[in-house]
């Protein structure tokens, strides 16, 4: 990788970090509602992975998706506006934080049901295989997702049909508050072995390690060698979501992981060590990112809410005749004025 691309990786990781910190503030100010799952600590996974893919490969992820959308090329403005529930957001305010989608970047979302997106990823890969597009599908999930039926159904199917799909476990070691040791009966790689699937363990705090691993398995997929599995070991710095007081994790453990911070580590071990940048240049990058996120917040705040008359849009791609006759569709949309904007539930 040349200097420019390496610096771009750094900038993207910083963008995600700053974006998430500011999103947390906006949540505290009740500008953002519902669940908000932040990505702090895991930046190297999305950034390293996306940098290894082609622009027209397919990416599908779970609800911890802001970092992925940004890495995949959605603008900070569109992502922030979506969190604010505005018309200018990635899905016009209909998906919210957990359902970011940007199909022009072949970023398919943003799925909030644990494990629900794994078969979809296999399906995208099946389409690529059938239509001979040469695309690879990357499907990221949390460690907690590896115990649900869809995980096993999707891996089994992908292996049977030799699909070009990468199942990437973003193993931050916790499913909400439940540690990996408590929720998984077997070590992660053994699950892949159960389906006779090529697998690697990867240091998720090292963006270059993630990039290299994804390059390797994507290459396998492109050569027709089928699905693979990456256990990317990482850590999230914040609680599961903004609603999580995070009392269950040991503070010393968190501190220990923070010492391996992917951004600091990449700056020190790669960029500075190889004299690719000066400390001043790194400072400039951070400042420009802060301006970008500040601009995104202003943009989101000034953006209109989606127009009420769009409420029924796209329920169907192909609306049918007589649809308005149906009892459920004859009422015009009405919206209560005072919808609480900041859910206090878990």
């Amino acid at each position: 990788m040349d200097k420019e691309n390496l610096v771009a990786l750094y900038r993207q990781m910083v963008l995600i970090r700053v974006f998430e910190d500011r999103a947390a503030e906006m949540y505290a100010k009740a500008k953002i509602a519902g669940f908000l799952h932040l990505y702090n600590g895991q930046e190297a996974v999305a950034v390293g992975s996306v940098s290894a893919l082609h622009p027209d490969d397919d990416v599908v992820v779970n609800y911890r998706d802001h970092g992925w959308a940004l890495a995949r090329g959605s603008s900070a403005r569109a992502v922030m506006a979506e969190l604010f529930g505005r018309a200018t957001g990635t899905t016009g305010g209909r998906g919210g934080s957990m359902h970011l989608v940007d199909v022009k970047n072949r970023f398919w979302g943003g799925y909030a049901i644990v494990g629900g997106h794994l078969p979809l990823a296999a399906g995208l890969a099946a389409a690529a295989q059938y239509l001979k597009t040469g695309r690879v599908t990357l499907c990221s999930m949390g460690d907690g997702s590896t115990n649900i039926g869809t995980f096993h159904a999707a891996l089994n199917w992908a292996k049977l049909w030799n699909l070009p799909v990468i199942f990437l476990v973003e193993n931050n070691q916790y499913a909400m508050g439940t540690h990996y040791d408590v929720h998984s009966a077997v070590p992660m790689l053994q699950k892949a072995a159960g389906y006779n699937m090529y697998a690697e363990e990867v240091d998720g705090m090292d963006v270059m390690a993630v990039r290299e691993a994804v390059c390797r398995v994507a290459e396998r997929a492109r050569k027709g060698e089928g699905p693979s599995f990456l256990n990317v070991v990482t850590y999230r710095y914040r609680g599961h979501s903004m609603a999580d007081p995070d009392v269950q994790r040991d503070k010393a453990e968190i501190a220990q992981w923070r010492e391996r911070d992917p951004i600091v580590r990449f700056a020190t071990d790669v960029l500075l060590k190889r004299n690719l940048v000066t400390p001043k240049e790194l400072e400039d990058i951070r400042e420009s990112v802060e301006r970008e996120v500040e601009d995104a917040i202003e943009f989101a705040d000034k953006s209109p809410e989606p127009a009420l008359d769009t409420l029924y849009d796209y329920i169907y791609q192909q609306p049918v005749r007589n649809m308005q006759i149906a009892g459920s569709l004859i009422r015009p949309p009405t919206i209560a004025k005072d919808i609480p904007t900041n859910g206090k539930h878990a």
Partner: protein, 327 residues
Amino acid sequence: MAEITYREALKRALREEMQRDPTVVIWGEDVVAYAGGGAYGVTSGLAKEFPGRVRDTPIAEEAIIGVGIGAAMGGMRPVCEIMTVNFTLVAWDQIVNHAAKQSHMFNGQIKVPMVIRTPNGHGRTAATHSQNFDAWFAHVPGLKVVAPSTPYDAKGLLKTSIRDDDPVVFLEHLQLYGTRGEVPDEEYLIPIGVSDYKRRGKDVTIVTWGRMTMESLKAARILAEEGIDVEVVDLRTLRPLDLSLALESVHKTNRVIVVEEGWRTAGLGAEIAASLQEMAFNDLDAPIARVAGLEVPMPYARNLERATLPFAEDVIAAVHAMMQKQY
């Protein structure tokens, strides 16, 4: 015009659409291997005609639907067969949270042109295998739900469903596969969301669909001998629901009976009755009546199963009650 079975009509629809569009594929459990094609024989022979395009899948309904959704997102038109409606429960999350919501929640960026074909209804198989889930699917915005009653409708609607850009739940009735009807050799399509008069009459309107259309027609023939003239409206599509013909019919007959096979409480009949009452209250000479299945998990024993399900005689009884009461 040839008389063919409902099963054969479905197969012809599949064949014609596969010939027309190479992105149409059929995936499901035993759609190739078992007895030549599918537990109910709908796909038999197609695997040979279309190599690589009809594929057996693992017994993993959540994946059959989910992989179908992903493939549809990726540019294909999969027809996913779920062996019987009972097993759609395993895939309910995929159907409701994913297939139905992709388009709206993602602001039109994603389309899911897939068909979920599945036999619905009973067959002396007891409570886990004799169910009718019309109302469940019809409840979900984003799904299109089709339930044809004749071979003619089955063929024309399946072809349209395959060409549709939205997820279609295509409910085939187990008890209709062997029924026969006229189906033209030349191509035709029936639009989704358009109901149909299956019999014209002036005294009572029956609003129904699926197997109950056949039972209602049988009832109408018997009632005609007594001089009661029944009009039968077959909804054909259960979501979006087209009540325009039902409404037109009520204006004329002033009496409505909704006939459904499934459980009555929170069933589709309740929705239809309520909607017609909202739209045509002044036309009604009698309260809207409902004929429905009894609310028990389906028993196996022949007499108990029969007692649980509505048949023509139940429709006749409901018509008699309505005509005899003085309101």
